[in-house]
Symmetry: C2
Subunit: 228 residues, 2 copies
């Protein structure tokens, strides 16, 4: 499958935007796009072949699964996000599609060569890695909040900010991008506790719900206080 960088929806935001059109085209010939259906796995922990990818559309999750099958979600990946460990011997975590997705995938060797040839690409990847590090630390902080109420309130605020066009103000209403189980796996709680906390938040008038996924922020300030 051939890459069509010219019509790529993330061509302005992805790491490859650090390259000129010709440089990007040369890199494109070494990669390929891959379509993933919801629930399909892009990488698995321990895979022998290590690849890297940029998410074009959809959403992915990075997760660890323990022996009993409990999943711990370590990161969400949005379009233009980069996935892949360029220096580790093999992938450490599973990467799975949350919704139908499309990625632009490269072998690690090709990407390494491109980074050596084009310093700007390395800088773009460095920026992305530092942003990912920041996100991981935010999630770490959120996952350790003392009460379940603080964790759920904080997650809803995070989703509201991500759903908003403006960087400052959270969206007033939006759809939760995750199931209860996935929210639980992001917060270190059980499905039931997440469900009950959402009910509490609605009962106390901080949010309103429409169906299982729809959320409206009634009192954002109250949410912020609950999130501590």
């Amino acid at each position: 499958m051939t890459l069509a960088c010219d019509t790529c929806p993330v061509r302005a935001k992805a790491a490859c935007s650090a390259l000129t059109d010709e440089e990007r085209s040369a890199l494109a010939r070494l990669g390929r796009t891959r379509e993933l259906k919801r629930g399909e796995r892009l990488f698995a922990a321990g895979d022998e072949i290590t690849a890297c990818a940029t998410l074009i559309e959809g959403a992915l999750k990075v997760a660890a699964t323990d022996a009993e099958g409990n999943e711990s979600i370590l990161a969400l990946v949005h379009p233009a996000g980069f996935i892949g460990e360029m220096f580790a011997p093999f992938p450490s975590y599973e990467v799975t599609a949350l919704t139908d997705s499309r990625v632009c995938q490269f072998s690690r060797a090709h990407l390494e060569a491109a980074v050596e040839r084009h310093p700007a690409l390395g800088i773009a990847l460095l920026q992305r890695a530092q942003e990912d590090l920041h996100s991981a630390r935010e999630l770490l902080d959120l996952s350790r909040r003392k009460t379940a109420a603080a964790r759920v309130a904080g997650l809803i605020l995070a989703f509201a900010r991500a759903a908003s066009d403006s960087p400052c103000h959270p969206a007033e209403s939006f759809d939760l991008p995750l199931t209860r189980g996935e929210m639980a796996a992001m917060l270190g709680l059980t499905i039931e506790t997440v469900s009950r906390q959402l009910g509490e938040l609605e009962a106390m008038g901080a949010i309103a719900r429409k169906g299982a996924r729809g959320i409206a922020l009634v009192t954002p300030a109250q949410l912020g206080e609950l999130a501590v």
Copy 2:
């Protein structure tokens, strides 16, 4: 204070090892070393000036503190580790010395210029950022283990591996680098729970303790099972 790269104990491992001696000397003239006593802060969240640093000796912690003064430890930094967000507008977290430490500090502007001039430095920083990301995700996974026993057992194993010379086998005996309170802040538990779990681990014969900090691994396999 002038930098003495020639005698720097981390000259072979730090990011600046990607540079030639002359390049490093040029960069060195723009930086300065700084000594920190135990508990002293290197950066605070919200500081206006953003700086970057390499740890030369000692140990640092990256932490977030909430309104009630509860600390959540997001990362430990060992010698040759790099600290600093090169692309964020201001530092997001506090960086504090766990023990008396010495760092090699640069302004962000100088470091950015050096990265543009020396692509190998950018690649070295990229590798470090991806390693830090990996560590953050490991800690995230550890912090979400269901039981306090699994978290404490996992942390002890992580310390044992860090204390070992060989990368494969954990050290058989070592000193805990953190207080109970700091361990609690790494795991999302209370001091009392950490203390009780250590007692349990000793009572069941997985570890032996010598004083408040000394640990000997009696049954590493048992620890591994407890850590799930």
